[in-house]
């Protein structure tokens, strides 16, 4: 890989880390769509600040956009507090309007400067290495690397510093409030972090990727762990992995880098979704399936238990009787249930005749009396 490529990859991975750190809290507070709302809604703030400063690198852009983001959140809350609109409708109303204002401003008044609609959606990651950070003439690397590095470090510091407060306010807002933790302050603090991260990331990678990186890696990590600290670490790792994967894809296909990283996020989530031990789709299906077999085996034991010692026992405990009309199992199903029950030690098989073991009697009795095994 060439030096510019390494620089692009570094920017993407650091951006992913910064986004994942705030994204975890958005997800846990069920505010993931706020990532979408804020990243769209900051556009007019950026555009207006750009018109005033005429400099895309100006720190005023970050400040103006962050303020716009917090304003958006406040506006959504104001609207839903009037109780004329539900919160989701309020969100769905506010951010398209803000975004529309931004797009109209850009297309009407900024047609010939390099703030255009494509850059808003996709960013210009491919050109990021040309935008250098050169204080006093010394080249210290790409500007975006410094920008996102700083934002990610600030996010990390804030999360570590206020870990307990964030954790409590996220999982038990009532308790947090009664302990004097001011949930409103924490909420708006978090929203400010989201806005600042979105602005910094938006400039480099476009707003599609901001949403993908804030939502995707935390969602994948959530399927792998129950601990908040592990969740944060895993989200950062999976985010960086998605970025690397997407970047490789982009080079291979020669396609949009930001778009490919968003796809990378999707792929990483899909793999975790399918294969996660315990919570993945495969594990879930397997568990449901094995529950079905276990249930059938216990049913068999109950059936045998109920006929034990009755005149019909000899007839009722024959394998070929089980898939007859009374129980309604197919021959193949019966064969597998019996085999499974024998393996679990619930029954013993003597040609076509089945006998309950002691364990089988206990299990059947337990199932009948309703206590879990």
């Amino acid at each position: 890989m060439s030096v510019p490529q390494i620089e692009i990859l570094a920017i993407a991975m650091i951006t992913a880390a910064g986004c994942a750190l705030v994204g975890v809290f958005l997800m846990l507070r069920r505010l993931a769509m706020l990532a979408d709302a804020i990243s769209h809604a900051i556009l007019p703030g950026i555009v207006v600040a750009f018109f005033l400063t005429e400099d895309l690198a100006s720190p005023w852009l970050v400040i103006a956009a962050a303020a716009t983001g917090v304003l958006t959140v406040a506006l959504v809350e104001l609207l839903s507090r009037t109780r004329r609109l539900k919160e989701d409708a309020a969100m769905g109303l506010v951010f398209p309007a803000m975004f529309s204002i931004g797009i109209v401003l850009i297309t009407r008044y900024a047609g010939n400067v390099h703030l255009d609609v494509d850059a808003v959606l996709l960013g210009e990651l491919a050109f990021a290495p040309f935008d250098r950070f050169e204080p006093g003439g010394h080249d210290l690397g790409p500007r975006h690397l410094w920008l996102m590095g700083t934002i990610t470090l600030i996010n990390l510091a804030l999360v570590m510093l206020f870990f307990k407060e964030l954790k409590l306010a996220t999982f038990d807002p009532g308790l947090a409030a009664s302990l004097g933790l001011a949930p409103v302050v924490i909420h708006y603090g978090l929203m400010t972090m989201v806005s600042v991260t979105a602005v910094g990331a938006f400039d480099a990678v476009g707003l599609v990727l901001v949403v993908a990186l804030m939502v995707g890696p935390p969602a994948a990590a959530y399927l792998l762990t129950d601990r908040l600290s592990v969740l944060l670490g895993l989200s950062v790792l999976l985010g960086a992995l998605s970025a690397a994967l997407g970047f490789g894809l982009a080079i291979w296909l020669d396609a949009s880098i930001a778009g490919c990283i968003a796809v990378g996020v999707g792929v990483v989530f899909l793999v975790v979704f399918l294969a996660a031990p315990g919570r993945g789709l495969v594990a879930e299906l397997r568990r449901r399936k094995s529950q079905r077999w276990e249930f059938a085996q216990v049913m068999l034991a109950i059936h045998l238990l109920q006929h034990e010692g009755t005149p019909a026992e000899a007839e009722e405990s024959r394998v070929d009787h089980l898939h007859g009309k009374e129980v309604g199992w197919t021959a193949e199903f019966t064969r597998r249930v019996v085999a499974g029950a024998v393996r679990r030690g619930l029954v013993e098989r003597d040609a076509e005749r089945l006998h309950l073991t002691e364990l089988g009697r206990v299990e059947a009795g337990r199932a009948l009396s309703g206590t879990a095994t």
Binding site: A32, D36, I103, L209, V215, G216, L253, D254
Partner: protein, 372 residues
């Protein structure tokens, strides 16, 4: 009036206006259900997710026939909606996260495909990125036919399953107990929503189409409590916004259609929130002010009665305004007295002092003694 004249004579403008009004109508009516069922943000995910479907349909067929692109969009949007349901149902991930995830990764995929198409530079590719922010000016007769046919299917289904959808929106548990196939109805209604969104993509664009679902319904909700009127009104608001927005954007150079329509519909919604007669914020504020005023007037009446009750005949005992003012921390004693005079409960003597009328004394006693 020249715009109105052109609407009838200018073929392009008429096509654009008709198409935008049709999209607004269908999106508004279906949006009413989405907003009621708290699916406002599903529209956002579906419309973003439609992009890869559009580009893939173009890449596979190489055609820009509207019906093919629309089918691709619908298919992708539909898969996205089902994926959201699957993730939410099988894992502990909540709806908002699933929506954000599906939205951003599908849209990212769409942009990747778009960049591939643009690089290969096929002759017909130039028009595809109009799906991002909409370009009503590119609507032609063929598009109108497609939009009209799909819109008719959606509205006919809505009419046909009206009662079922109504029950599903307000009380799904009861609908299930009645023996209605709730899961199937849910999927049908969501599919209709997907079609409604897809109809608008060419005009409004995938990024902003969600607002065409939410805003007309949010506006209509302020004016009525009845589902039938809500749906009709939302359709009307949507159609008007589409029409007005499209006409404005086609008259002003370099004004993208999607954002213009969205700003029009947002304006309608904000106005509705403010001035609607019952639920409007302005009406609520006026009610509050009037109530507070009535409380003040009642208190002054009670004060005047307490003073007058010291005398044998309450109605013949005038009192200084200044005295009444010292009894009340709140300002506006004079205004309250004037309001009492208007109701015939108090009169001012020529020297500027006030006393109760017979009826005023009666009311004052009721007020002070708490009897009615």
């Amino acid at each position: 009036m020249s715009v109105l004249g052109e609407l009838f004579t200018d073929y392009t403008l008429r096509t654009v206006a008709l198409g935008s009004a049709a999209l607004g109508l269908v999106a508004g009516m279906l949006g009413a259900f989405a907003v009621l069922r708290r699916q406002s943000l599903l529209g956002d995910a579906v419309s973003h997710a439609a992009l890869p479907g559009i580009v893939l349909a173009f890449m596979i067929t190489g055609a820009k026939t509207p019906i093919i692109l629309v089918l691709g969009a619908a298919l992708a949007g539909w898969i996205a909606a089902l994926l959201v349901m699957l993730v939410v149902r099988t894992t502990r991930i909540k709806t908002d996260t699933a929506l954000g995830l599906v939205l951003s990764t599908f849209f990212g995929l769409g942009l990747v495909l778009l960049s591939l198409v643009q690089r290969s530079g096929g002759a017909g590719q130039a028009g595809l990125d109009r799906f991002l922010f909409g370009q009503a000016a590119t609507l032609v007769g063929d598009d109108l036919v497609t939009m009209g046919a799909l819109g008719a299917v959606v509205l006919a289904s809505l009419a046909l399953l009206w009662k079922e959808f109504k029950l599903l929106s307000f009380d799904p548990a009861f609908a299930g107990a009645m023996g209605l196939p709730v899961r199937a109805l849910d999927i049908i209604l969501t599919s209709l929503l997907v079609i409604a969104i897809v109809i608008g993509l060419q005009t409004v664009g995938v990024v902003l189409m969600s607002a065409m679902i939410v805003a007309p319904a949010a506006a209509a909700r302020q004016w009525t409590d009845r589902l039938g009127r809500l749906v009709l009104l939302a359709g009307l608001f949507g159609a008007v916004s589409g029409l007005v927005g499209a006409v404005i954007s086609s008259m002003v150079p370099r004004l993208p259609t999607g954002p213009t329509i969205i700003l029009v519909v947002t304006t309608i919604t904000v106005l509705s929130l403010l001035v609607a007669p019952e639920r409007g914020l302005l009406a609520a504020w006026l009610r509050r002010v009037r109530q507070r005023r009535q409380v003040e007037i009642d208190s002054v009446l009670a004060d005047l009665y307490r003073l007058a009750a010291q005398h044998d005949d309450p109605t013949s005992a005038p009192h200084e305004v200044a005295v009444l003012q010292t009894m009340r921390a709140a300002a506006g004693v004079r205004n309250s007295l004037r309001a009492l005079a208007d109701e015939g409960l108090a009169v001012a003597d020529p020297d500027g002092r006030w006393r109760l009328t017979v009826e005023g004394a009666q009311r004052g006693r009721e007020r002070v003694e708490g009897t009615t």
